[in-house]
Symmetry: C2
């Protein structure tokens, strides 16, 4: 398999944490890929017309995206049901993933406001609204049962990793000490250690 | 079940088309809900901290989101496997859903640029970039196998319904006559007729 990859993307990290947890990391060739919301990437567009990473190219040559689809596909390649519990626990894990992904979407929109837009076109009402979603999302994560390694708890780990990477002054540990404790254990796992974002 | 609902949301429509196809529409109480990316909705935040519709409250009182999670949950309530094929066809259907959802995300970001931002803060580079993703996405949908009623083809139908609703001058039928033909049949189905966006 091949993966359209960027070391700074939390959604790529989620896929790679799954790959490590499933013992598939060495079956995936990483294709380093730069993305921007305002610049066309023609090579990537051939695999994902939305021009986002991650995109997986399977051994049959099928392109799969977005990250929830890729993660569940990898789970099936590894035999199925490894990171996706059954019954009601499945829906809780998928809600946790959607919550984490939604927090990341909001944080990335805040980042794009600065990275992809001239200074005079930035609007604090937009970033305030997105940051509110992110912070409410973190408070909701604090109320979730984050035990075990599932797609939900893996996503949550990537959220805190991204906060530390891109929003080092957010102060989430002060607001959510129990999540900070939880993340200490998660951050130390081999899968998280193997997928750290670039320094700085 | 209860659904946080807005008649103009294409993601709500996707959920309701699934509900109709699965024979569950009359089991869902609709809670009309207004959302904006720059205004807090405290009632909705209690169920979905990301403050987006749709959010489903199950009969057990669990809140589920986003739309891919809700649609698959409804499918499971109806017995499972109705709108989600098995084997490789599952991944194609999920890719189609991700493609359609990604097109809708891009179109909605274009709309928010006008609806949620003062005129002097709008940036054409942003909307051009998002519209490029949407248009490339439509071209990719034209290359997909859209036969049968799956979560993938249901999502595609909601994309074209949203284009007609919010971007009536987009001209997608001229660019993609085969998709226009395909949508003619889909638009006429009872599930699509029962879930039309508001006039105007």
């Amino acid at each position: 398999m091949k993966l359209r990859y960027n070391q700074g993307s939390p959604f790529v990290r989620k896929v790679m944490v799954c790959a490590h947890e499933l013992g598939l990391a060495d079956k995936i060739e990483l294709l380093d890929t730069t993305v921007s919301p305002v610049t066309t990437n023609a090579v990537l567009a051939g695999e994902n017309p939305l021009m986002k990473v991650p995109a997986l190219i399977t051994d049959d040559g099928e392109a799969l995206f977005d990250s929830p689809v890729i993660c569940e596909y990898l789970d099936s390649v590894a035999g199925g049901g490894k990171l996706y519990p059954n019954g009601m626990a499945r829906w809780a894990a998928l809600r946790q993933q959607a919550l984490g992904d939604g927090i990341l979407d909001a944080l990335i929109l805040c980042r794009y406001e600065i990275a992809a837009r001239p200074e005079e076109k930035r609007f604090s009402g937009w970033t305030d609204g997105q940051m509110k979603k992110a912070h409410q999302g973190l408070a909701a994560l604090a109320a979730e049962d984050l035990s075990g390694r599932t797609i939900g708890t893996i996503t949550a780990g990537c959220v805190f990793g991204y906060l530390d990477f891109r929003f080092p002054n957010d102060g989430w540990r002060q607001r959510h000490p129990k999540l900070a404790d939880w993340y200490k254990g998660v951050e130390a796992t081999p899968a998280m250690q193997a997928t750290k974002p670039p320094a700085g």
